[in-house]
């Protein structure tokens, strides 16, 4: 009793304390999830709260911040402040989802000269600042001094041009074992955008109306990079480790054009006895580097914009940023901290000042527009991929960029009428909610009517009632909302605009849509039968009464519960073209293995092998459960009839197991048409702008493309349309199998 009183009292106390203080809560959403960084952010928050006792900051950290942000914006409950990168900013600004900060800045007479001008520029659109700068990342040339010394090549300096880079990379390429394949590469193929700009070429015209890439300057740049491929820079299929940092720290590549954020990992993984440093990006006609700036933005719809602004301002203040200590993952946007040896300017690397200098000559690669994501993956990357695999000549690459880019820009211009209406509307949520409530009511009325007219069957309805209610409350509304949205232009930020069957007709014309459909059928038609049979064999093996069979059952189930990261890393190693287990074993029998995940032909088979392996555990378990249900006496009877093992399997096991087989069949059809996570993880490249689904879209499956359209291009209406097309396909396959099942599935046969 005393305890209860004490608890009640303390609750009461807490409540009253809170109401006296009247603290406002603002929510801060960040991409950064590593405990080290989170602890630093917490320091800033603690200091801010000490200075502003009326404000409480709730920190929300998630690696999927953009998806969470979009969902919360759509629901009208945006976090007040969000960390955002300059590459994601244009889309948000285009939908008017963020608050400009200029009024506050002039009101509080904040001196923006404290920041490197380029960092402010990169976050400014139409002369309005939409995110308050924190730090930035630029290019620099990372090089391995030991390899340079070994080949007697002079270290890169301020005067290096791309030609020097090219020449040095050839000298640095070493074939140690004389098998005709380089063991150390001179360099990695540098980002073409950077070279094109440093030859004072352009990608898009300044007024963003057409492509400006088909010029002699750009041709020079592309030719340079193209000629390095396979000679002094590895082609996609020749890259041995999972990322460039690994190749660099394992001394497999002598230099590469990296970015600031790669510093901490290089510092951590580079062996102590291997000296390395950085140099400025090589010059062409001019020097160019891409800049990426991170800042805090304030969402429109924030309930406490004033408090949010105070927080944002404090976060980027000298006082706030000093709490972070030495930062190497990005250069500070504040000039004072950037120049301070205590906070940034200290070795390693020796020449870290390169990043500060880069702040003067670096820039955004494209002019302002709200489509950079989509442009990069629809126009830029497909051609890049062909250049990297040397399947297109430089001249043709430029022509293809020009053609696909102009077509894309043209389509984008036609969309003007939709874009001009796009305006963040917190009331989409109220609108969709009403829509769902109406459906819920209609659903209940239908059920009532049905129950009233079929009173005799009340028992049956009683048993399925939990599902009926759950369906009407939690599923019907959202499902129908997505059906409605499939007929609209919906970007999750502004009100849906009705477009009739526009989304569907645009999809049919979209080549990638058809590719994704083909890939999905390929995946499903191959993986479903194989995994069904494979899991059944496993289950039959594991159903034997042997000593230690439980251990085996656990082992074979392990992949289903092992960390997905571990599995994907391990399979990347298994599939590694040169060092991987598969190709090493194939080599023993004298077969030259394929490039697996780097080969457009073999990537999908590799994925299928992996998913059959990993998915077998679940299906096996269900088969095992089914096998337990087969009565012993059926086998005894078969024994009496003199049946052998195979006959028993055919005449007893299979028919008796048919309901279970049927279940696994239907579930694997439904699952394989929606395959997503495996492929997403296996084909993602950390830190690169290449969308998962490669190489050359060979593993771009349906839901992967749907995800890209919905959450990367912010075209949820089109994603919904895709989802409903897939729904019809899966439903058709399922109905077909239910119809066929009457011929082979036996229920209640004992």
């Amino acid at each position: 009793m005393r305890k209860i009183v004490a608890i009640l009292l303390s609750i009461f106390f807490c409540l009253t304390l809170n109401s006296f203080a009247e603290r406002k809560t603002i929510r801060y959403l960040t991409f950064e999830t590593s405990f080290e960084q989170i602890n630093l952010i917490k320091k800033i928050i603690a200091e801010f709260e000490k200075k502003n006792p009326d404000i409480h900051v709730q920190l929300e950290a998630t690696s999927e911040a953009s998806r969470v942000f979009l969902t919360e914006m759509a629901a009208g409950t945006p976090p007040d402040v969000m960390y955002i990168g300059s590459e994601m900013l244009p889309q948000m600004v285009g939908k008017r989802a963020l608050m400009p900060m200029n009024d506050w800045i002039s009101r509080d007479s904040v001196n923006m000269d404290l920041f490197f001008p380029k960092t402010v520029n990169a976050l400014t659109y139409d002369s309005k600042l939409y995110a308050y700068p924190i730090h930035y990342s630029t290019n620099a040339l990372f090089y391995n001094k030991r390899l340079f010394d070994e080949r007697g090549v002079a270290y890169p300096d301020d005067n290096w041009t791309w030609n020097d880079y090219d020449k040095a990379s050839k000298k640095l390429t070493i074939d140690r074992d004389g098998d005709g394949k380089p063991d150390v590469w001179g360099c990695l193929s540098p980002e073409l955008r950077v070279i094109i700009h440093s030859y004072s070429g352009k990608i898009i015209s300044d007024d963003t109306t057409r492509m400006a890439v088909n010029t002699p300057e750009a041709l020079k740049a592309v030719t340079l990079a193209y000629n390095m491929g396979g000679v002094s820079a590895p082609l996609a299929a020749q890259i041995q480790d999972t990322n460039e940092i690994q190749m660099f720290s394992n001394s497999k590549v002598a230099m590469f054009l990296g970015r600031t954020w790669q510093l901490p990992q290089i510092i951590k993984t580079m062996p102590k006895d291997v000296p390395w440093d950085i140099a400025p990006t090589p010059k062409g006609v001019v020097r160019f580097s891409e800049i990426g700036v991170g800042g805090n933005c304030i969402a429109r719809g924030s309930k406490n914009p004033e408090a949010a602004w105070r927080y944002v301002k404090f976060y980027s203040s000298v006082e706030g940023q000093k709490l972070l200590g030495v930062q190497k993952n990005c250069a500070p946007a504040l000039v004072e901290l950037g120049n301070s040896p205590q906070y940034f300017l200290c070795a390693p690397p020796q020449n870290i000042k390169v990043f500060l200098d880069a702040a003067t000559y670096s820039d955004r690669p494209y002019p302002d527009a709200d489509w950079t994501n989509e442009f990069s993956s629809r126009v830029w990357e497909p051609v890049m991929e062909q250049i990297r695999t040397r399947t297109i000549t430089p001249k043709d690459a430029l022509i293809m960029w020009e053609k696909s880019g102009n077509a894309y820009l043209e389509k984008w211009r036609q969309d003007e009428s939709f874009r001009s209406k796009a305006d963040y509307a917190g009331d989409t949520t109220a609108f969709l909610f009403r829509f769902m409530i109406i459906l819920m009511v209609v659903g209940f009325l239908v059920v009532l009517y049905f129950a009233a007219t079929n009173k005799k069957s009340w028992e049956g309805y009683f048993f399925i009632a939990p599902w009926i209610f759950g369906f009407i409350i939690f599923t019907l509304g959202p499902v129908m909302a997505s059906l409605y949205l499939s007929f609209t232009r919906y970007d999750m930020l502004s009100m849906p605009q009705w477009v009739g069957i526009g989304n569907f007709s645009a999809l049919v014309k979209d080549k990638l849509f058809l590719t994704s459909l083909y890939n999905t059928f390929y995946y499903a038609l191959v993986s479903v039968p194989i995994s069904l049979v494979f899991a059944l064999i496993l289950a039959m093996l594991l159903n034997n009464k042997l000593k230690g069979i439980y251990t085996f059952r656990a082992i074979y189930y392990l992949p289903a519960i092992t960390s997905g990261v571990a599995i994907s890393l391990l399979w990347r190693w298994l599939f590694n073209p040169d060092l991987g287990l598969f190709n090493s074993m194939l080599k023993l029998v004298g077969i030259a293995g394929p490039g697996w995940l780097t080969s457009p032909t073999w990537a999908m088979p590799a994925i299928i092998i992996m998913s059959v392996w990993g998915g077998a555990g679940g299906a096996m378990l269900i088969y095992l459960a089914g096998l337990q249900g087969i009565p012993e006496q059926l086998y005894e009877a078969a024994n009496l009839d003199g049946a052998n093992g195979w006959q028993k399997f055919l005449n007893v096991t299979l028919p008796m197991l048919s309901p279970t087989i049927f279940f696994n069949l239907i579930m694997s059809i439904i699952g394989s048409f929606q395959v997503f996570v495996t492929i997403f993880v296996m084909t993602s490249n950390a830190g690169s702008s290449i969308e998962p689904g490669g190489p050359v879209n060979s593993t771009l499956v349906y839901v992967l493309y749907l995800y890209r359209i919905g959450f990367r291009y912010l075209n949820m209406g089109s994603a919904c349309a895709m989802a409903w097309i897939l729904f019809v396909i899966i439903l058709a396959m399922t109905l077909l199998n239910f119809w066929l099942s009457k011929r082979w599935v036996n229920y209640d046969q004992v």
Binding site: R27, E32, T33, L59, V68, A74, A75, N250, P264, Q265, K268, F433, M436, F450, N454, S457, E459, G460, F463, I464, P466, W467, G470, F471, T475, P478, A481, L485, L541, N544, A554, I555, Y557, P559, I561, T562, S563, V565, A566, L621, A625, G629, P631, Q633, M656, P659, I666, I670, A686, L706, Y707, F711, M716, W724, L726, L731, T734, L735, Y747, V750
Partner: protein
């Protein structure tokens, strides 16, 4: 006869071992990584044996991810979601498998079709719905729906098994004056132990490892789950594989325990003696 049996046994063990190696590999990789220093993890070609062996990775990782708070939350969510799924999915499955009522086949197709629409496109409307219910940043969105049917997967699975149990049993029981509910409770459930154990395993694992649900519906740090907590080792610019694998191993232990203990119900092959056959 015995020699043939022995040969068969040896062959079986051989097959199981060969496959087992491929299946246990990622797990071994996890163990070796969890005992390594960061710099050693990424060396190519792959190093299998940690040197030095760092057991301290475990205690450090658990400290950094605030393990005990996350464990408590995950246990609460997983436990209630599992109970809900067990009760409601077996009930609904019984309805679909053993009862006759108008619209049954149609409703069953509707049930299955709820799995055919990619969840990504219903994510936002569903979030809006829960927001208006005031359920954001609570465990309700992760628990309550389990009590309403428990998901098409389990209903379909259980229905398949219930359908294989002889109908004669129901009829005999009904003649004895048994209600439908007693048939469900006293005949059907005890006969379905292996598949119910399967439901327990799946349900536990899915809730335990669920990433998207908690990611979207839980905001405050003190409400997060273990699956989300593992993100603490995957930063923007680098992944601390050694901590990540140490923490993942600890998170995996309860799952393995559930799996192994549920196995018990897989040996009690259903005794149907005394029945027609």
């Amino acid at each position: 006869m015995n020699e043939i049996k022995l040969r068969k046994k040896i062959l079986l063990y051989f097959l199981l071992l060969c496959g087992g190696v491929i299946y246990i590999l990622p797990f071994l990789w996890m163990v070796r990584t969890s005992l390594m220093e960061y710099a050693q993890v990424q060396i190519v070609p792959l190093v299998w044996f940690p040197n030095p062996v760092k057991f301290s990775n475990f205690s450090e990782a658990l400290k950094y991810m605030d393990f005990w708070v996350l464990l408590k939350n995950t246990l609460i969510i997983t436990f209630f979601a599992m109970i809900g799924q067990m009760i409601s999915s077996s009930m609904v499955a019984f309805g679909f498998a053993r009862m006759k009522f108008p619209g049954r086949e149609f409703l069953f197709m509707v049930l299955l079709s709820t799995m055919m629409l990619p969840a990504m496109v219903t994510e936002i409307p569903r979030f809006i719905l829960f927001r208006h219910l005031g359920w954001i940043d609570t465990f309700y969105p992760l628990i309550v729906p389990s009590f309403f049917g428990g998901g098409a997967f389990f209903i379909f699975l259980l229905r398949q098994f219930f359908k294989t149990i002889p109908f004669d049993l129901d009829e005999a029981a009904r003649i004895d004056g048994c209600s439908s509910f007693r048939i469900f409770y006293q005949i059907m459930l005890p006969l379905s132990k292996p598949v119910l154990a399967t439901v327990v395993i799946f349900s536990f694992i899915w809730s335990w490892n669920d990433f998207w649900g908690p990611l979207i519906y839980l905001r405050s740090a003190d409400k997060k789950t273990l699956a989300l907590g593992l993100q603490a080792f995957q930063g923007l610019s680098q992944t601390d594989y050694h901590y990540l694998m140490a923490a993942s191993l600890v998170v995996l232990i309860p799952v393995l325990a559930i799996y192994v203990s549920a196995q018990k119900y897989f040996t009690q092959g259903i005794v149907m003696s005394g029945m027609k056959g």
